[in-house]
Symmetry: C2
């Protein structure tokens, strides 16, 4: 039994390893080699916490297990620890024995960032130069940092409901040596790639804020009721997702499905593009939209990758379980 | 983070501690202080394994977490390890952080045995002297051993589809200094308490194999399609269970509900008897029947108890997670 504590993840895990792990597991999902289990998510009636399990099995990567944890909204104020708390447990698919336990907090941020980056690699125009961020919170920094590694971006533009948080984006842009500009939502028409990463419950980005040829990664909507973009935008776009069932029920596509702007057949798996069974972008003026809902297999994939790295570097704690 | 490996459980956990933990959590379930989450159970398409998660939260005992694992049918033959493999993970309900990891194999056997014993304590006649076992496999030994501690039994009788396994029961009876007798199913009329613990898919015990005043604990049925006793027996009995929703869907009561012998209102929580809000047995010639389906909260309760014992004895492995 191997243990990789949360405090080790930052030094071990790379954005490259997260990207590779997520790309591979999206492909395995689309080819039918990997699937996610039903998600358990419970308001437990204690500390206003949401707690649950996201499990899955990847037959190709032989990764089996779950992420357990959730959201404890009082953690930061009461205890100076982060509100999102999760742990990944990996099992040996040959025997059913517990195999590894891995801190899941930073991994969750990295796998979410990797997902939008994988979508940019496979769906954005190769000549994309301006990246637009809608949202400037903690997770936005992860998304932007990972995204900047996927292409030859020359400029970052950003909008946030609370403009005082925009320096978060500026910081990441300048790490990469890029200029940053705060814009109105209208100004997003300049972007070739847009990432939305908010906790909004109503559409922020409208269809006319987006130019032809743009790739949009909607990363904030993971619950019934949340919404980041106008449904008309999904109507104008070719829509891709990590998992169709989640996309149409708790993802960004839920609203466009409900108001009949699109139908379930209009939502394709990003993994199919990776595998080459879906052509992905077919022209330079198409709008592509990735609805990133977040699946357990992503967590398992990055956890398995970090266990390998920890073993390689002699950092994994071995317990005779 | 505390770790209690499987190999330590046998020396740490007592049948008394398992009994107390299960009795307490059944009571908490009936009073609304504890609840089980939806069960995830997946045929993963590898090694013919069934894998899943049983989680729950006990607000009274502040026990939160899950049992993960399942059934790997080739383990014993291929690898000389047992086919049922599980691990319990406990979380801190105040923060969402992982708190303990505990080997779940022996605990599962002990909590299942404790459940029928709790039912015997609260539902069997106080003058019960003969205990009858239907089933004589590995788990039957656990059930019988625990049951014999609940009362003043003077004799064990037993039946099994494969009679060559009956010495399993004889062994446990003689440990307790009691005579054992192999009987036909007709012979079960001699029993004051009957435990069924088989993997049968059709009724074994018929209504006329059971005398008035008997308490029956049906412990084998935990899946759609399994069945141990004739539905007419449930019609003649007062029916109790660990969890009503499981009892009527995957427990022994599923068939009697389907053929309308009983209705969901006829199935009561054993916890309500423990709490005193249900009178339980009201006469010496009533037949009482406990449908033990097995819930995640039982696993969490015995795991929490064993962690306390391991800490007390300085055996828990502490990992800075």
């Amino acid at each position: 039994m191997l243990i990789v504590p949360e405090r080790e993840i930052a030094d071990l895990m790379t954005r490259e390893a997260a990207f590779d792990a997520v790309e591979k597991v999206f492909a395995a999902m689309a080819s039918g080699d990997a699937y996610n289990f039903p998600v358990v998510r419970e308001a437990i009636g204690h500390e206003d916490a949401l707690y649950g399990f996201k499990g899955g099995f990847d037959r190709a990567g032989l990764t089996l297990g779950l992420k357990a944890g959730g959201y404890w909204p009082n953690n930061l104020e009461k205890r100076q620890i982060i509100n999102h708390q999760s742990t990944v447990f990996l099992f040996d698919p040959d025997t059913g024995k517990a195999k590894a336990m891995v801190g899941g907090n930073l991994l969750t941020a990295l796998r979410t960032a990797a997902a939008s980056s994988v979508s940019i690699k496979h769906l954005a125009r190769k000549d994309a130069r301006v990246i637009g961020m809608v949202g400037a919170g903690h997770q936005a920094k992860f998304q932007l940092r990972a995204a900047l590694e996927t292409g030859n971006f020359e400029k970052v533009i950003g909008w946030n409901f609370h403009p005082e948080m925009l320096p978060n984006l500026e910081e990441v842009a300048s790490e990469a040596g890029l200029p940053f500009e705060a814009v109105d939502l209208d100004g997003m028409t300049e972007a070739d790639v847009i990432i939305t990463i908010t906790s909004s419950f109503e559409a922020i980005l409208q269809a006319d804020h987006v130019s032809p040829g743009t790739h949009i990664a909607c990363m904030g909507t993971d619950t019934k009721g949340k919404q980041e973009v106008e449904t008309a935008l999904l109507g104008k776009a070719r829509v891709f997702t990590d998992e169709v069932a989640q996309s149409v029920s708790i993802g960004e596509a839920q609203h466009a499905i409900q108001d009949l702007t699109i139908h379930i057949e209009d939502v394709a798996q990003l993994g199919a593009v990776i595998n080459g069974t879906n052509p992905g972008r077919t022209s330079d003026d198409e709008i592509t939209l990735f609805d990133g809902t977040g699946v357990g297999l992503q967590d398992l994939a990055v956890a398995a990758a970090v266990v390998d790295l920890a073993v390689e570097k002699g950092i994994a704690i071995e317990v005779d379980f």
